[in-house]
């Protein structure tokens, strides 16, 4: 049933199209039933559509949406249904007929429904009031800035780096000069799974024993990553490592377009070197378990691992121009 799964990142589109499609199907079925003289009474059709939308929002959508949002959607859908059932005087009469029948208690059955409603409505509202008055202790929501403004300079292993001008010493072309164009051209393919274009080309395969320069540094960065970083950031750099489930804030997902893809390489260098404890207050330095990597790695190792993260995810670091 994989096709039934909600596609990550496309939830709003999927929700709108699924809901739209179901309502279209309903309208067609209802129309066909009416044509054959077995139409669903207007009242029950309206109630049915409303209940369906509520159930859809509650059980189908993942991650779950809060009650307050469902209440807003519920009001909107109720208004829509009201407009539909009150389109003409005849339809409106047809819609309220069952309600009036119950209020008037025209048959024994309607009378017993009326009695039941007299009891159920106060009880339901009272119960709802009780549960909203009952003190509840939900998880507090705390908003944290994931990418706070970096400082102008950072001092790592006794050396000061000016973040605006510093360059990754390992992002080099065949002549050994800094060259982002050269390394961008050798980055892995931007596609699902982000794979190397041609593993047999020695220029592309970091594991080629003869690999030299940029691609060799990528491998060295990868070795550091897989001995230090994957425990949290995961074997696919998607933030789902071994211990991701234990920590809050959760580890960054580098494959997401919102992390390293929109950052400069020097920003990442600063974040890696100084870790959670080095964040400004809006980044919640007290809660992050990200190590200040200057305690574990050399400056060279940090540059290599940063470069590996770009290579493996297939993103290019943002530049100043």
């Amino acid at each position: 049933m994989t096709w039934l799964k909600l596609v990550e990142g496309y939830m709003p589109m999927q929700m709108i199209s699924e809901l739209g499609l179901s309502i279209l199907v309903f309208v067609l079925v209802n129309w066909a039933l009416h044509r054959s003289g077995m139409g669903i009474p207007k009242f029950w059709a309206g109630v049915g559509v409303f209940v369906f939308i509520q159930l859809y929002l509650k059980y189908r959508i993942y991650p779950p949406i809060p009650f307050s949002v469902r209440a807003i959607y519920g009001t909107v859908s109720a208004c829509g249904i009201f407009m539909w059932v009150s389109g003409s005087e005849k339809e409106w009469q047809e819609f309220k007929r069952p309600i009036l029948n119950v209020m008037d208690g025209i048959t024994n059955f309607h009378q017993s429904v009326r009695t039941a409603m007299l009891v159920v409505i106060p009880l339901a509202l009272g119960g709802f009031a009780y549960s909203s008055f009952l003190p509840s202790f939900e998880e507090p929501i705390e908003l944290r800035t994931v990418h706070p403004a970096p400082p102008a300079t950072t001092k790592v292993h006794g050396k000061t780096f000016v973040l605006q001008v510093v360059e990754n010493p390992y992002r080099v072309n065949a002549d050994g000069d800094y060259d982002q164009g050269y390394t961008d051209a050798r980055i892995v393919e931007q596609a699902m799974g982000r794979l190397m274009k041609d593993v047999n080309d020695p220029n592309y395969n970091p594991w080629d024993p003869n690999a030299d320069g940029y691609i060799k540094y990528v491998r060295e960065g990868g070795e550091i990553f897989f001995q230090n970083c994957h425990f949290c950031h995961g074997d696919n750099l998607n933030g789902r490592g071994l211990w991701a489930y234990a920590f809050n804030p959760i580890p960054a997902n580098f494959t997401d377009a919102g992390t390293i893809a929109q950052l400069q390489e020097t920003f990442v260098f600063w974040r890696v070197s100084k870790g959670g404890i080095g964040l400004p207050g809006e980044g919640f330095p007290w809660a992050s378990v990200m190590p200040p990597w200057e305690q574990h790695l050399t400056v060279d190792e940090i540059w290599k691992v940063v470069m590996f993260e770009y290579w493996h995810t297939g993103y290019y670091p943002r530049t100043w121009d």
């Binding site: 007299l118 106060p122 008055f133 998880e139 699902m192 794979l195 074997d235 234990a246 200040p292």
Partner: protein
């Protein structure tokens, strides 16, 4: 010739193990005839060799995604391997854990290996690749691994390979009734499962003498954490996974196949019992593995924990509720009053922020409950730990010292990352697992001192506070002591607080792979020295745990995220009064509406 020898050795080793354990069904000869297939298995032909293009495409996948742990030659010796336990698989000999095929046989590529790659192996570093690699990419990488990296055997080798496949589709699971569970609990004793997995199934039976085929230490599974079962396929409470593992065994590990000495019916009973032991919403005691009819019924009715689809672990909730009780607080873990409140699952990760980092955390979760009365709060901690660890002799350092580098407590540096530099990976974390100096087990929790004055959302650092906002750390160690320290930073020595004299260890017991520790502390002490606990507030809290046999001491430990303790105040009277008024109001409105309607009808108005 070489290959024949190897297969013979592996096969002989497998049978030898079975025979040694007294489970050998009395088979003679070297091959299986069709009629000798174990119950529930069917013979299947050899798969077709993959296309050359698929192998080529798979090589590209392998050298981007897999090589980092599994290594260039697939020997499980990539750079990641030195700090991993369980270790990455060595593909060369063609030994795979999760299979539908009989013990010792190769797995089904498009079922077993494909599922392993898709769903990962929980409890290890192998992640699920579904959604990262396309179906085709996963098939390609398997084509590469099975043809190029598995060296000693071949799926196309008609002479040596056979596939006896567990036909799960034709075997519908037996209902997990209390009778089935009870029978399963007897069978795990009879079939000697408990020798490794322990009387109560926490993997504490033979935790220190087991090795995998490559000589690395390996632990028996903890049945209480089904989400860590390698073969759980992102569906941990599914009994079929357990049935499959039990029927086919885990190649490369001491876990044998039980297909030959159990009937299918017995296997379902055992699988139902093992599945029922996996933690549920409520804790269900199985003392000494003795399952009475009542216990079996409780196990059968237990409500499964909700699993978070993003992590494949139980869902976390960062609020730890604590309820008020009249009079004295419980003195035992089985006190009825603990049922007033749901236990919380605290996920624990290795401490990897500062040296010495803990790359293997044997404690990966702790269960916590809290109750309070007018003067005290009491915490019930329960966590699984296969070994009771008590340090022999005195510690070289003072308990307040936190920088233990000078005493030789250091983290493991990655030495050779390939077998060329370190043959047999003797220096790897996996090889060193059971050779640590043993320290005390322990558990600790921290509160910010003067948390009432914290400017939201500021908190003291999770790791023993900071200079601006110190914390109080209550720490219990397995030598029976409890201490309260003031912490002002991860590398600042603690200051001892005499509040410890008022903290009571109500109970501390290790039994069948689980610690039960009850700690009671006064709600209030010196406001400037310890956290002053008040009801109705969110009080930040962090947990730390040490496993002495893992060499955990000082900063080498397991740690949690921030949680909040909330001491729920008694329900205010208004909660009952307002709804009553609302109900009365609704009834009046109803009467008015119906009255009006009746009047209009009487007056001959609109009907």
């Amino acid at each position: 010739m070489m290959r024949t020898m190897k297969i013979a050795t592996v096969t002989a080793a497998c049978w030898g193990m079975l025979a040694g354990a007294g489970m050998w069904p009395g088979m003679t000869g070297s091959g299986w005839a069709q009629e000798e297939l174990p119950e529930g298995f069917v013979a299947q032909g050899l798969p077709q060799a993959p296309a050359a293009e698929s192998v080529e495409a798979g090589k590209r996948v392998y050298f981007t995604k897999c090589v980092w742990c599994h290594g260039v030659d697939g020997a499980g010796d990539g750079p990641g391997a030195v700090r991993l336990w369980p270790r990455p698989r060595n593909f060369n000999v063609g030994t795979f854990k999760i299979r539908h095929t009989a013990s010792g046989q190769l797995p089904l590529i498009d079922v077993d290996l494909f599922d392993t790659v898709s769903h990962g192996l929980p409890g290890s570093a192998m992640p699920p690749w579904e959604g990262i690699l396309t179906d085709q990419q996963r098939r390609d990488v398997l084509a590469f691994v099975t043809t190029q990296l598995v060296e000693d055997r071949s799926w196309q080798d008609e002479e040596f390979e056979e596939f006896f496949v567990l036909d799960l589709e034709s075997l519908s699971p037996k209902d997990a009734t209390s009778e089935s569970i009870q029978r399963g609990s007897e069978l795990v004793v009879e079939k000697k499962c408990i020798e490794c997995h322990g009387l109560e199934g926490r993997g504490d039976g033979n935790a220190f003498n087991l090795k995998d085929d490559w000589g690395f230490p390996i632990q028996p599974a903890d049945w209480h954490k089904c989400w860590n079962f390698r073969g759980s396929r992102q569906d941990p409470y599914n009994v079929e996974n357990i049935f499959r593992t039990f029927s086919t065994g885990l190649n490369g590990t001491p876990m044998p196949s039980f297909a030959d000495n159990t009937s299918v019916d017995e296997r379902w009973d055992i699988a139902n019992y093992v599945n029922s032991l996996c933690e549920r919403v409520m804790d269900i005691a199985v003392p000494e593995g003795q399952v009475s009819g009542d216990t079996a019924q409780q196990l059968a009715d237990g409500e499964a924990l909700p699993i978070d689809p993003l992590t494949d672990k139980p869902k976390s909730n960062f609020v730890i509720p604590s309820k008020f009780v009249e009079g004295d607080l419980p003195t035992e873990a089985d006190d009825e009053r603990w049922n007033l409140i749901r236990r919380r699952w605290i996920a624990m990760g290795g401490q990897i922020t500062h040296k010495p980092r803990n790359f293997v955390n044997r404690i990966d979760d702790v269960w916590v409950q809290a109750l309070y009365n007018e003067t005290h709060i009491e915490f019930l901690f329960r966590w699984n730990d296969r070994t009771k660890s008590m340090q022999e002799g005195e510690m070289d350092w003072d308990p307040t010292e936190v920088n233990l580098d000078d005493y030789g407590v250091r983290e493991q540096t990655p030495l050779g990352s390939s077998f060329d530099k370190d043959p047999f990976h003797k220096e790897s974390i996996a090889a060193k697992q059971n050779r640590y100096a043993v320290y005390n087990d322990g558990i600790a929790f921290q509160f910010p001192i003067k948390w009432q004055e914290l400017p939201a959302p500021r908190k003291p650092r999770y790791f023993w506070g900071d200079e601006t906002f110190p914390v109080d750390i209550t720490k219990w160690t397995a030598d029976g002591t409890v201490a309260v320290y003031e912490g002002t930073g991860w590398d600042e020595d603690f200051t001892e607080v005499d509040f410890a004299e008022e903290v009571e260890v109500v109970k501390a017991e290790w039994s069948h792979g689980r610690w039960t520790v009850i700690l009671k502390r006064p709600l209030k002490g010196d406001y400037d020295e310890v956290a002053y606990l008040e009801g109705g507030k969110y009080i930040p809290m962090v947990f730390f745990a040490w496993d002495g046999h893992n060499g955990d001491v000082g900063r080498k430990m397991a740690v949690s995220a921030f949680y909040y303790l909330v001491m729920e105040p008694p329900i205010p009277t208004a909660t009952y009064i307002y709804p009553a008024f609302i109900m009365l109001g609704v009834i009046i409105v109803e009467g008015w509406v119906l009255g009006r309607r009746a009047n209009r009808r009487k007056a001959g108005g609109q009907v």
